[in-house]
Amino acid sequence: MPELTLEDLKRIKEKTAAAMALRLGHPRATITVHLGDCGISAGARDVMQALLGEVAEYRRPDVQVLAADCMGNCASEPNVTVWVEGSEPVVYQKMDRDKIKEVFRRHLLEGEVLREHVLGR
């Protein structure tokens, strides 16, 4: 029966311990991917996958990625809300794998809001 064994988990603990030591006390940014049925149909799972890849790639455990329900703006899905400590939340619309990577790199890492992708600008 295929399963995750205790040995697998021990290995995972050892390999990630060093990276986890860099974790800050609390998330400094939260990115919420809206995973209603409309968002999922429009590609929100791909967006989330790409986003989580960026968080892992850039070793940014201080960035929290969460799922949430539809915001009611189904026509602009996939919608993603970005909150950075000390700033107002920004909702990005019609995200895809490439756009969310751009949002991550420019907004999260460099602090620049990508106005062309903001909902209701």
Partner: protein
């Protein structure tokens, strides 16, 4: 939806919005019976009876952000299109179990798709919820229970992408072996070794 795993994500998210703190997802494939069955069970607030009776109606929803509820009606349509059916069992205050069956070889059946990506979105997007994923193919079974994983990981967070990446790699290997019918000898090999 283009993959059945997207339906799993959608139905599981519904359970979470209904206040569940534990969601069990089961996928069962039977070659002999030519069936594929998806089951999502949560311990949320349950569905009102009038909503259950009208699951085929996309204009019925419990949400307040909009007036249509496409998810469950899409799953019902997908299963019925493939000589299957959907069953919704719900007890108010206790939870909901949704079971959708398909003829596995039906030409219109969408592929199961990337269930690891679905579990990734669920587990990482909802760090305070426990998920149990069970996948059975002709009697062989894979189980991933985040409640057990969290205990074993001790101080590490399962929802951290760095930790999850390794869990996902192991899950992909195990599910690949399950699909090919060659249950691997374990422990699973380490991709980085």
């Amino acid at each position: 939806m283009r993959e059945l795993s997207l339906h799993l994500l959608d139905i599981a998210e519904n359970g979470i919005r209904a206040g569940a703190d534990r969601v069990a997802i089961r996928v069962e494939e039977s070659s002999a019976g030519d069936r594929l069955t998806l089951c999502v069970e949560d311990n949320g607030s349950g569905l009102p009876e009038d909503k259950i009776a009208r699951i085929d109606d996309p204009f019925v929803t419990t949400r307040t952000t909009r007036r249509v509820g496409l998810g469950l009606s899409l799953l019902a349509a997908a299963s019925r299109r493939c000589e299957g059916d959907i069953r919704v069992e719900s007890i108010r205050g206790k939870g909901t179990r949704i079971t959708a069956a398909f003829r596995r070889s039906h030409i219109d059946r969408a592929p199961l798709g990337d269930v690891v990506a679905t579990m990734e979105a669920l587990v990482l997007g909802n760090p305070h919820i426990d998920f149990c994923y069970t996948h059975r193919v002709d009697g062989e079974e894979f189980v991933m229970d985040t409640h057990d994983l969290k205990k074993e990981l001790g101080g590490l967070s399962l929802s951290d992408p760095l930790v999850w990446r390794r869990i996902a790699e192991a899950m992909r290997r195990a599910l690949g072996a399950l699909a090919s019918g060659s249950a691997p000898s374990l422990p699973l090999e380490d991709a980085d070794a």
